[in-house]
Amino acid sequence: MKTYLKYLFIELGLIFFFVFLLSPLFIREKFDINREGGQAIFNLSTGKIFTQKIGEEFSNLNSLSLQLKNPMINNNSEITVEIDDLNNNLLQEFTFFGSNVGDPSWVKLKFTPLSNPGYQIKIYADIDPRHNLYLYVNRDNQMDLKATSYLPGFFNRFQDNFYYQIGQLKARSEIDNIIYFTVLILLNLYLLKLSLTRS
């Protein structure tokens, strides 16, 4: 029996660590928006401002990622990203240079979590008629955007992950769930029997 408990402890320990513990330990944010598939069509080097509203309510918005294209990394003008609230009050401002943008690349902007009913994101760059610099935008004028919100507190994350894993389990094929867990239980019963039998 003692030997079997050792086996069971290892099995349950593995499941607990990988399925329930790893994610709340390391994942501290989740996607609110994860949108790509646009084209490099909005030319920022003309001095135009691209404005995007995020209508949904985010609690703890803590990062934005935009997809930009700096062909041959030629453009080194200053690029500004503003995050305003819906009344045009500036909440965050970021500036970086064209040399920080790939051909193409995602630019991630991290900030202390914001909790507002909505946001306006404004992106603009210095005018540079010699070299183009593009923002990825789709046909509906929505830019490629990844927005994440911060998940505070280990126990909250643990709880969220627990419910997420249960949800995933329920979403999986029912017949496969039944077979999988039956096989695991039967094998464990056999292992228990072997452990109780003297060799």
């Binding site: 949108r35 999986r172 999988y180």
Partner: protein
């Protein structure tokens, strides 16, 4: 050679090993298993020449990776997928062809991975059984419960465990008559991946031989390879796709005075082996393994090739065991510094797809610590070469 008596202890080892694998297999992911199965699906569509099909249709396919494996891989794993499809959950084909933003958001990914890795479990346990037959229970446990082989087989999830099984089966028959079967199985392994060719000369000269025997053994070895390659050998698309696999180039990469070092060391080890009275294939393979890690820019899954053979010598010598663990730790540190999301956090996608968004060690070292991971990798190689040299220091413990 141990006689199989299915004692309680032995049954417990296998049952527990099986349970562990059923737990581990579905929770780790690497895109190679998807990419390979993406290509294998075309056998069910009766595409016999996969190389030509991919070349002609690459632009219209959702995955544009090349298929740089041998024909037997395509036919055997394609057939396996046809069989497994009956037990794979719905949407498997949709997942296989989805390389977009939602490719990791399939709840059934857990079962796709488990079922696709089921054959690996059987080959892995098969290797364990053969090691038990060749050596003893200690080597069996070392194989089944060491984290390195679990990582290489179920986390990286390449099919290398299949040729590994056939090389160990060949070794089993080499130690047992009829030895010619050994060469057929080594040939099957080579028809799946070319690396067992490195083992062939050692197998050929393991026992006293003559020209006739040598000729028959080489013929037996070449048979599976020739039979499976023959229909494609003059096909330009096969040559083009297959030349993308980098083992041969990588073996010749490290040079001193423009002389490739690994082939020279290989040749020296082989000569030493031929002329030694007490031939020990395992010790020769351990030397080749260590120089391989130190001198070749290896893909992590390649470490599995030598593993079953080196377990015996390292289990017999405490100093070697410690050095071996150090070598493996350094080799894994080297792997973690490769610029690839899927060699670190990406493995945990089946648990939470967000893992792929986390920064891998490469990014943290280059962006936060402002160090060049490639330089660290180079230093790791130097340390690996040094640690490998330590194996040469004579030890009081003898191999029995």
């Amino acid at each position: 050679m141990a006689k199989t008596i299915w004692t309680n202890d032995l049954k417990k080892i296998f049952v527990f090993a099986f349970i562990l694998r059923l737990i581990i297999a579905p929770i780790f992911y690497h895109p190679d298993i998807k990419s390979q199965n993406f290509d294998f699906q075309f056998l069910a569509q009766r595409k016999i020449n996969i190389y030509q099909y991919l070349e002609n249709n690459r632009k219209s396919l959702p995955n544009t990776d090349t298929f740089n494996y041998l024909p037997l891989v395509y036919f055997s794993f394609g057939a396996q997928q046809i069989v497994l499809k009956n037990i794979l959950p719905s949407n498997f084909s949709i997942w296989l062809n989805d390389w977009g933003l939602d490719q990791n958001n399939y709840p059934n990914l857990f079962y796709y991975l488990l079922i696709l890795k089921l054959p690996y479990i059987f080959f892995d346990l098969g290797v364990g059984y053969l090691l038990y037959k060749i050596y003893n229970k200690k080597i069996l446990s070392l194989w089944l419960f060491n984290p390195l082989s679990l990582y290489l087989i179920y986390v990286l999830a390449n099919f290398d465990v299949v040729p590994v099984f056939f090389t160990v089966l060949a070794f089993y028959f080499l130690k047992k008559s009829p030895a010619s079967l050994a060469y057929i199985f080594l040939g099957i392994a080579t028809a799946l991946k070319l690396y067992p060719l490195l083992f062939l000369p050692f197998f050929l000269f393991d026992q006293k031989t003559n020209i006739k025997k040598l000729f028959i053994n080489i013929l037996a070895y070449l048979l599976p390879l020739v039979l499976t390659i023959m229909p494609f050998i003059f096909d330009s698309s096969f040559i083009k796709e297959f030349s993308g696999s980098g083992l041969t180039q990588k073996l010749f990469e490290s040079r001193l005075l423009n002389i490739p070092i690994y082939p020279v060391i290989y040749f020296i080890v082989f000569l030493y082996y031929i002329y030694s009275k007490n031939k020990k294939v395992e010790t020769a393979f351990l030397t080749l393994f260590l120089t391989f890690i130190a001198l070749v820019n290896f893909h992590p899954q390649w470490l599995l090739w030598f593993l079953p053979f080196v377990l015996y010598p390292i289990s017999k010598n405490k100093k070697w065991l410690i050095l071996f663990i150090a070598t493996i730790a350094l080799a894994l540190a080297y792997v973690l510094l490769i610029n690839d999301h899927f060699l670190f956090w990406g493995h945990f996608i089946p648990i939470d797809p967000f893992f792929v968004q986390l920064n891998p060690p490469y990014f943290i070292i280059s962006q936060r610590l402002h160090l060049a991971p490639e330089t660290i990798q180079l230093y790791l190689k130097y340390i690996l070469a040094f640690v490998s040299l330590l194996f040469l220091i004579p030890s009081h413990e003898n191999l029995s």
